[in-house]
Symmetry: C2
Subunit: 235 residues, 2 copies
């Protein structure tokens, strides 16, 4: 059923820019000038504009009217916002997935889980995060609720960006890969135990918060307080 995607220009541009933002080549706060990008990609400003609105839609960029588009500078507060919503919708997602996913569909969850565990064993953190997101995406997809999946997608790309900045200031995060929490979620869904699955999701996010707090305590002794990231454009 793989329909050939006649990719629009703006999609190709958006994909490219998304990658560059997520792997840090485009730093937070960087300005995305339409004319520059148009030159660089060899297309006119139209598709560039479409790509930038797409990035703004997914939260990777912010669009200030008449002023330009900038790579998002996400902060601690943003991280909390994202996790609060992800937890809420994923708790629902696992329940929905349990109630109407076929046994065959549930196997793809285990595949995704193993990919996560493998990836976190490796050295490439960015790849691990992608696998991580793909695992969560799996059961959001299996929920059968397209809008839920869409909300998740938005938050997923922001999550990766947030992890980047979090690790940048708190290197210790990289040493505590979140593996068991994912296995618990997969197990509970596999057993079609709704209550346990919900709890497992909740536990996942409690664990994540705990990791962040622990890393924070470690950071308090060192430099870099969190304040000055905001409004890098005014300075």
């Amino acid at each position: 059923m793989a329909t050939i995607e006649h990719k629009q220009l703006w999609q190709a541009v958006a994909d490219q820019l998304r990658d560059e933002i997520l792997d840090g080549r485009l730093a937070a706060g960087a300005r995305l000038v339409e004319t520059e990008l148009a030159d660089r990609f060899g297309v006119s400003r139209g598709p560039i504009r479409d790509a930038l609105t797409e990035l703004a839609r997914t939260g990777l960029a912010v669009d200030l009217p008449r002023r330009g588009t900038f790579v998002s500078s996400l902060t601690e507060a943003d991280l909390n916002e994202v996790y609060v919503i992800r937890r809420a919708i994923e708790e629902v997602a696992v329940r929905l997935a349990i109630s109407h996913a076929t046994a065959q569909e549930l196997t793809e969850l285990r595949v995704a889980l193993e990919a996560v565990e493998d990836a976190y064993r490796g050295p490439d953190l960015a790849a691990a995060w992608e696998a991580d997101m793909e695992f969560h995406r799996s059961y959001c997809r299996l929920s059968g609720n397209g809008r839920l999946l869409a909300v998740f997608e938005q938050l997923a790309s922001q999550t990766v960006l947030l992890m980047r900045t979090a690790v940048a200031t708190r290197a210790s995060l990289a040493w505590i890969p979140p593996v068991e929490v994912h296995r618990h979620i997969a197990d509970a869904i596999g057993a079609r135990d709704a209550q346990r699955a919900t709890d497992a999701v909740a536990a996942h996010y409690r664990y994540t918060e705990e990791r962040l707090s622990a890393a924070d305590r470690g950071r308090e002794t060192g430099p870099a307080p969190s304040a000055p990231i905001r409004r890098s454009l005014a300075g």
Copy 2:
């Protein structure tokens, strides 16, 4: 603090189209042709395109590449999707609002509640729905989570559209205004009782589902069941 809004053209167009979709002048499935709209609004196709992508983003229209944009035809399944997510995020929203909204901010909730009750007493269903959405929007705003509010906004406009189509096929809905459920939510938040507030939101959505099921049963046997408590859809 009222900063002057230099409204972009596409925003004005999007607002206008949104109104027309929500009050039914633009029927579900209607085609939105860029050149036509450009003529009608006296602007070029650029801002029209932006407006259409905005409508697509909020779910009021769907964009088929190379084919055009159409007013969304939302179905029963969409209604379920929307309500599932709204329930999930609103349960969180009330808890957040309780934990960090000032007493003064909570008063705006009561104002919104009274607006809802007044509106449902009147004959204008569309206005009642808007007031209804504004009530829910209040505590989503008070949650302090901007992304949560953004997700709500998307779903809110779809909700209004869904109610339109639901009433079109099940007139009996108009006779059962959902008033008490809102008061329970407001009361629980006002008392800063997180558990009761969460339960009240859950009850709200159970009640809504019940109303829809009841209307469905009424529809299966024949048109309009009796026992009217309150009157009148559009008079």
